[in-house]
Structures are given as C-alpha cells and as structure tokens.
C-alpha cells in the first residue's frame, strides 16, 4: 500500500504565559540573548501514516492535542518541527497563509465539528458549497452550478434546500452542507473533526453511513477525530490514541479497543458506557493530567494518573514499541502481565 500522508516527528509548541511587561522586556534586552519562554508542548514528536483509501481514527481526551495535530496536518497552522508529506509533496515548509492559495490545498479538506458554527451564517447552502469551488477549482457560471448540485445530490441534500441559510436547516442537513462543501473539490484526504458530535443518534447513523459511502465513491482517505470510541470502532481501520501531545498506542481499531495494551487506552475503553453492562466495576483514572507546559522529557506523560506507574516511568520516557498485529505502544509495561 502507498502512503498518502506521511507525518514524521511532528511537533507544535506554543509560547505560554502572559505577554511580557516593560520591565521584563528591558531586562531581556540587556541580559543578552533572547529569554526562553515557557512552552506548551501541544504536539510532541508525532509520526504516523495514512494509506490510500484508509480511515484512521484519532482519539484522546480534550486538551491532548488532537485539534492542534489536525490543524497542523491540514496546514491551518505551521508546525514547529517535523515533516508532512502528501504523496510526493512536502507540505511543512509552505507557510499556512501561502498554502491557502496553493494548488494542493484542494487535496486536503476538512469537515468541522458542529456545522452550525462552521458555516458562515450569511451564506446560503449554495454559497457555502460554492466558496471552495470558486477559490480552489476556479469554477464559474454553469460549471459551478453543476458541480454544486452534483455535490449536494451526492451528500443527500435536496436541491431545493440550497437557497436556505444555515439557521433554516436542521442539524442533519447542516452536517450534509458541511460535508458537501468539503468533498465538492474532490480531496484526497478528508479530515473529520467530530462530525457527528452535535447530532442525535438517529441522524448520526445516517451521516456515518453517508461518509462511508462517499469514501469509496470518491476514493478518499479519512482522518477521523472523535472522542466517541464506539463510532471510531465502527468507522475506522486503524486508530491513533493520543495523550498529552504524544501518541501512546496505535493499531487496528478493533484490536486496540478489544485488547488495549496501554494503561491509558485501557482506562479510556473502560470508561465508555455500554448498553450491555449494567453497573460493572471499572478502571478509573484519578487526578488531573500533567501540565503540558515544558514537560520533563524523561518522565512518562501519563505518570501520576497511571495505575501501573513505577520508578522507571519517572526516569525514562517510554517510546513507541512494536507489538504483534501491526500495533505500537509507548509503555514500559505493555505486554507484561500486571503483578
């Protein structure tokens, strides 16, 4: 299989803290050399690939860096370090602003969380879908109209709804507009950021099935971000589990959720309520996550919340190690039965 997207050692750090006051600025000026600001390690040394036609899930709790990773991969943010290769093209050197007008912009598109908030409220459905087609495919007139109608039909949006504004559409219809807008330019990679989080279960099913059908019709690859593990299990081939900026476990989605190897994945899976288990005793995470600001490079990010954490976790950061069945886990104790 050929990798469509190849992300290597990607990092994104943000300066943390308040903007410096006058005294600090003066002191900085006369102390020689720039002062090192505390940094938030939002994404730290992340590598993964997405093959052609594959759906990769990205899961993790809020604040773990999912959204930052997605924004860097879709080139809405510039990475601090690392490479992002889309096919043969290296994207990480093109600044985000310039990439907006790049010929490869149309190859990576995004469906945002809650279409109600991500569609311009003063655009009709037609105008919302037209916008990327005009900008990225330079379509006008009858060609444009034809392409918009084709995208709408493909996404199950009745053509008479195209003249409506977002507030005149139901949640499911808005989600369809958001998807139609992204697939109209026929991208190779579609990044979906919690596309069904705002929907009721009955509508969610329809949207998930639509996404599944579109993927094969348009031969796209998906990066699917969600915190709903039961949805990820159904839709994704492979899954990446993220914790505080690092990938802690990867592997085929069903295997990872059925037999998680990393303690964090185990806690995550145990926390998902199931229709079939009433009042079962479960593994619970205690405490708050460690601070992402200048984390100690030698301490496991999960240390402190981890039920298995030991002395080694304080002195040596666990790296991703390979396990049978195309799985990788970053834990010293993975595969070792608990005492």
């Amino acid at each position: 299989m050929t990798a469509l997207l190849d992300v290597g050692e990607l990092s994104k750090r943000f300066p943390a803290g308040k903007p410096a006051g006058m005294v600090t600025r003066l002191r900085r000026r006369f102390s020689g050399g720039p002062e090192r600001l505390p940094m938030v390690y939002a994404v730290d040394d992340v590598s993964f690939t997405i093959n052609k036609g594959e759906t990769v899930g990205l899961v993790g709790e809020s604040g773990c860096g999912k959204s930052t990773l997605v924004r860097v991969v879709t080139r809405l943010l510039d990475p601090t370090d690392g490479i992002i290769k889309l096919g043969a093209r290296e994207l990480s050197h093109t600044p985000a602003r310039r990439f907006a007008k790049d010929q490869d912009r149309k190859r990576v598109q995004m469906v945002f969380q809650d279409a109600g908030d991500s569609i311009n409220p003063r655009f009709t459905a037609f105008a919302a879908i037209a916008d990327p087609l005009r900008r990225l495919r330079k379509l006008t007139g009858a060609d444009l109209r034809h392409k918009i109608e084709e995208a709408a039909i493909r996404c199950g949006l009745p053509l008479e709804l195209l003249t409506r504004f977002p507030h005149q559409l139901s949640g499911g219809q808005r989600a369809r507009v958001g998807i139609a807008r992204a697939v109209a330019v026929e991208p190779d990679l579609l990044v979906l950021d919690e596309p069904t989080a705002a929907l009721d279960v009955s509508v969610q099913v329809v949207i998930l099935q639509l996404l599944q059908r579109l993927k094969s019709e348009l031969s796209m690859s998906y990066l699917f971000v969600s915190h709903d593990l039961s949805v990820v299990r159904l839709l994704c081939d492979r899954v990446l589990v993220m914790y505080l900026g690092k990938i802690v476990e990867t592997g085929p989605a069903k295997d990872v959720f059925d037999h998680p190897l990393h303690p964090y994945t185990q806690a995550l899976v145990a926390a998902v309520p199931s229709v079939n288990e009433h009042g079962v005793e479960r593994l619970r995470l205690t405490g708050e996550p460690r601070s992402p600001i200048d984390p100690d490079p030698d301490v496991c990010r999960f240390y402190g919340r981890c039920p298995r954490g030991g002395d080694r976790c304080k002195t040596e950061m666990p790296l991703l190690r390979s396990f049978a069945g195309e799985r990788e886990v970053a834990c010293h104790f993975a595969g070792v039965p608990p005492q």
Partner: protein
C-alpha cells in the same frame, strides 16, 4: 419500586405560546421515582426531557404554561405551589445539575462563595462556618487542594472540575431529589465516568432519588434502574433498564436501540430512524405522535392512546407493541 415515591408526576402537560402558534411540548407525562432510585429520561433533542425537568423545578420560560398535571413531592404539589413555597423547596428538597456547568455557575464569584451561598440559604449554616463547610464539600466531590480551589473562579477550572462544583452546590443541602440534566455532555468519557460514579455514590449515601436526563442510551443503561423513553412530548415506554433493552415494546424504543453505535458490529448493521419529529405546533397532531414515522401503524392508532394500569411495571403507549 418503593411504596411512597419521592416524586410522582401525573399527567403533566405543558405548552409554549410562540409567535407561530402554540407548541404542545409535553402531553400527559406521568412517572414516579422512589427514594434512592435513579430514573433516566432518554430521548432525542426536542423530545421534552428538559422541559419536564424545568416544569418540575418551576423554572419554565415565561412563554411556557403547565395546563394540566401534578408533581407531588412529599405533601406538596410543585405545580400548584406559590413562588414562596417553591423557593423554600428548591435547593433544600430538590436540586438540579445543569448542562454545561461553565454557563450555569456565576462567572464573577469564587466557587467557594457560591457553595457557601447555598449553605447559608438552605442548610442552616452560620456565616462563620460556611466557608469551612464549602471547602469540605469541595473535598467530598473529589477536588484536590480544596481550600485553594475555593477561591478560584469558574474560568480557572476545567470543565470536569466545574461540574464537580455544580454537584457540590446541588448536594450542599442534602436534597431528597436531584435532577441531573445531561450532566456530562461535553466532558471526556474518562471524566464522564468519574462524575457519574460521584453522583451515584453521593446519591446512595444520602438516599436521594435521582432523575437523570440524557440522550445517551448506553449511559442510561449503565446508570439507571428504570428508563422512561420520551418522543415528541410523550413518555412512550417506561420500564426497568434490563427489561427495556432485552424486550423493548414500543417501536420507537426498538429503533433507538438499533441506532446506538454501541450495539452494532458494523456500520451497515446500524439502523436509522425514518422520518423526523412531528411539528408540535400542529392542531391536528395524531394521538400517537410517532404514528407518522411508525412501520407498525394500524387503523387503531388514530384512536386515543391506550391507558396503562397504574400498577403496570412496563407501560407502553402503543396499540401495536412489539
């Protein structure tokens, strides 16, 4: 079920006057919740779950009006009570946890003070003792370093911590009934599990009845003893949890279970629910509000809904149940 329910709601009917007509938001909603019991109200958005809670609490929007029904808590009918009577009961006897703790908490008051406010008003605590009691409550809901956190403002805390503060406020006066309206929406699954454990433990400790409102069927299955399924302002089915999932009788319940991703082995197995909620402003709403979406509709469905016997443990509002 206990002999004397903590709260019993009978024939609750609520309508909203809007510019485009009268919305019949709730129609003939009845259920009871016993002491120490957890009851879940489940349904999709617009089914009337929150309106039920707001009507019980007496905090309906001014456009809403209870046209019929009773909600008995002890000897008091909450729906007929005067504002003064209600003010005494709220916070002391019934408490509510709202969706989205960040907007429900006062943004410009430290959380410790907000807890102390409730204690002073409802729990006969003196002004001198209140701050210390507030810190104690923060510790009870599992907040680390509670004396420092008591001085924090809501924006300085994570969503999970804000929800813990909401729980501390709700439980400050040890109420006999807690209404939790989607208490974990927007929280991570790991935090959700911890928060739900916490509510469950505290409820068991003080023998409190809990009405738990959610759209997540799997979460309701895990946490509630009995489940009332709502659709378009009707309670369509009311059954013990296990019974509901093994033998759903209302067609809507069955469809809802089939649409829950948790139950399916593959995406193709998930079934969607055809149609959408009827427009509740219509004058010609059919007696069964599901009938227009229902695959099992028969001519008898145009008759008024069957009335279940009061002692039926598994009432279903359907002429042609599964």
């Amino acid at each position: 079920m206990t002999a004397v329910p903590a709260l019993s709601v009978e024939h609750l009917t609520v309508e909203f006057r809007t510019r485009s007509g009268i919305v019949q938001a709730l129609d003939n909603v009845s259920f009871a919740v016993g002491k120490g019991e957890t009851l879940a109200l489940v349904g999709e958005s617009g089914s009337g779950k929150s309106v039920t809670a707001y009507a019980i609490m007496g905090i309906l929007d001014p456009a809403g009006r209870v046209t019929r029904g009773k909600a008995t808590l002890g000897a008091l009918d909450l729906l007929a009570a005067t504002p003064d009577e209600l003010a005494k009961v709220r916070g002391r006897e019934i408490a509510m946890i709202f969706q989205n703790p960040r907007t429900a908490l006062n943004p410009i008051r430290p959380v410790g003070r907000q807890i102390a406010d409730v204690l002073l008003r409802h729990a006969d605590v003196t002004r001198d003792d209140a701050p210390a009691r507030a810190v104690e409550l923060l510790r009870a809901v599992g907040i680390t370093d509670p004396s420092r956190r008591a001085k924090a403002y809501p924006f300085e805390m994570s969503g999970g911590m804000c929800q813990r503060v909401m729980i501390a406020i709700a439980l400050a006066a040890k109420p006999s009934l807690l209404i939790a309206d989607e208490p974990t929406t927007g929280l991570d699954v790991t935090t959700q599990a911890v928060i739900m454990d916490l509510i469950g433990e505290l409820a068991a400790e003080i023998g409190m009845a809990t009405i738990f409102i959610t759209h997540d069927l799997a979460l309701a299955a895990q946490r509630a003893g009995r489940i009332a399924v709502m659709h378009a302002g009707h309670v369509v089915e009311f059954a013990p949890t296990r019974e509901l999932f093994t033998h759903p009788r209302h067609p809507y319940t069955a469809e809802l279970i089939a649409a829950t991703p948790d139950t399916a082995a593959s995406l193709a197995q998930l079934a969607s629910i055809p149609g959408s909620l009827p427009d509740l402003r219509r004058a010609d709403l059919p007696p069964c509000r599901y009938s227009e979406r229902c695959p099992r509709k028969r001519p008898v469905c145009d008759q008024p809904l069957p009335v279940a016997a009061a002692d039926n443990p598994h009432p279903v509002a359907c002429w042609n149940p599964l």
